[in-house]
């Protein structure tokens, strides 16, 4: 089991819960916490994390010029320790960060935004089993250490290394449930399609992270039809809802449960086929958009009230994967999938995870 070695080591030393509590409280007083207790980072522990990567601790992996702040590999390690990661998670944390850096918003104002976006991370390849990353039941929920702590590490890097705190430089109006906690392994075993990272261009079987920023997640529960067209029409309706639509186009994603993915694959749909169907049908009539004051775009492409009219407006800018990320995760026990709303677009790429301590790709 992942993590067992660490537990065995600890039982040989005398544990001091009072000292642990004092150290946790110290971290709170420093303003480092996201609200939950932190694991205090010590030099020996951070060295174990740094030993899990071949990268130079001083390497700058992110920079926000407007705030004059940056993140190094070492700061990432300190924050990953504090988030509760194990050392062997660290290459995944770095790959997840790198994947997020490919999003325009993360190198601009995204972390400060009123929308308070949440990273979504999808993990592929053997690293899933090696680290025990949940790919099946309750994949968006709690209960699994890597799923919970890897995205938390990203959040702590933003908070501490970038200095972006809520109510200060972070101006989320409401934020969203699940910020810094949405990290799932793709259920490749029950998926009828190639892995997401394979679709993004990496060799099959590569351990990798795909990541983007989300505005929210909303479920599509449809377990009583055997028609692929019914099912896709249900997704098109959810994807095309007006509330999520602020610019000329908006991007989305779907984390299909295995049952839905298998039904679609059985009807001949691959990922590209699903995207083509949904790019064509997700949207609203111009009259429907006029009813909510979003039927026209200004010079900056921002939606607002227009003159109404006929026709149908498509929400997705096209059928490429950047506009509709598709992954498969969850238990194979019901037809419940999740539509995710992207903050911008997805880079359409995945970042390989090297084996701990090595430079080359995991496999």
């Amino acid at each position: 089991m992942p993590g067992q070695a660490v537990i065995a080591e600890q039982t040989e030393t005398e544990l001091d819960p009072d000292a642990a509590h004092a150290a946790i409280e110290y971290c709170y007083t420093q303003g480092w916490s996201d609200g939950l207790p932190l694991v205090p980072a010590t030099r020996p522990l951070v060295e174990k994390f740094l030993a899990a990567t071949a990268r130079n601790p001083a390497e700058v992996i992110g920079r926000l010029p407007q705030l004059d702040r940056s993140v190094t590999v070492e700061l990432a390690a300190i924050n990953a320790v504090m988030a509760g990661c194990l050392p062997e998670y660290f290459p995944v944390v770095l790959a997840a960060w790198d994947a997020l850096m490919r999003e325009r918003a993360t190198t601009g104002g995204g972390w400060q935004s009123t929308s308070g976006p949440a990273p979504l991370m999808v993990i592929n390849g053997p690293v899933r089993a090696d680290l025990g990353i949940n790919a099946t039941g309750g994949v968006f929920g709690p209960g699994f250490r890597p799923n919970a702590t890897i995205p938390r590490a990203i959040g702590l890097m933003v908070r501490n290394a970038y200095g972006i705190h809520p109510h200060e430089l972070e101006q989320a109006t409401q934020g969203l449930p699940g910020r810094w906690s949405i990290c799932l392994a793709e259920n490749e075993e029950d998926s009828p399609w190639p892995a997401l990272a394979t679709e993004a261009g990496l060799p099959p079987g590569t351990s990798a992270v795909s990541a983007t920023l989300l505005r929210t997640c909303e479920f599509v529960d449809n377990r009583h039809t055997s028609s692929a067209e019914h099912l896709l029409a249900d997704f098109a309706d959810t994807i095309g809802r007006s509330g999520a639509w602020i610019f000329r186009h908006a991007s989305a994603g779907i984390v299909f449960c295995p049952e839905h993915a298998q039904l679609l694959a059985g009807a001949g749909f691959d990922r590209a086929g699903v995207r083509a169907f949904l790019a064509d049908r997700s949207g609203r009539s111009t009259a429907g958009l006029a009813a909510v004051g979003k039927d026209a775009c200004d010079d900056n492409g921002v939606r607002g009230p227009g003159d109404g009219g006929d026709g149908f407006q498509r929400m997705l800018a096209g059928s490429e994967s950047q506009h509709l990320l598709i992954a498969v995760a969850g238990a194979r026990n019901a037809g419940i999938s999740m539509v995710v709303r992207l903050f911008g677009g997805w880079s359409g790429t995945s970042v390989p995870v090297p084996r701990p301590g090595r430079e080359e790709s995991y496999d």
Binding site: R43, G109, T114
Partner: protein, 183 residues
Amino acid sequence: MPNAILDPTGRAGAPRARSAGLTLAARRPDLSGQRVGLMDNTKHNAALLLAEIGGLLAAEHGVTVTLEATKADFAAPAPADLVVRYREACDVVITGVGDCGSCSASAVADGIGFEQAGVPAAVICSDAFVVTADAMAELRGAPGYHYIRTAHPVAVLTTEQVRQRAKQLLPEVVAALTETLPQ
């Protein structure tokens, strides 16, 4: 001896941002004959509000609007070449509207940047973003930097309401560009 707890911010031991304050660009007693630049940050109604203020300044204070440009990336401070364009074409600059998480902070950074480039600036921010605007001023070594606060929200105002807002803000804009306010 227990291990020390490591600092996750990368700022341990770093000196706090210089708080000596910002030296504002020199101002003239009035705006008559001055060249005014308007820098719109793409937020809804920003261009209209700035154009209205520019029009009022021309009509009532004898200015000429010589440069109206857009800062394409509202989240980031204006690029150096854009600041140079304003410095060459204008005597004073008005910019805004700080109306979101990142753009309010960067609008304040722009104002400070113009002052440092020797161009008096008036920055307009929604009053819903005062905390983040002030945080940016502190980050830039200019705690207490004066910017103009206007009632939130700006983006939903009608054209007529934007005109009214411009009239309301005019005295503050004139004051910001002519009086060296205490920092």
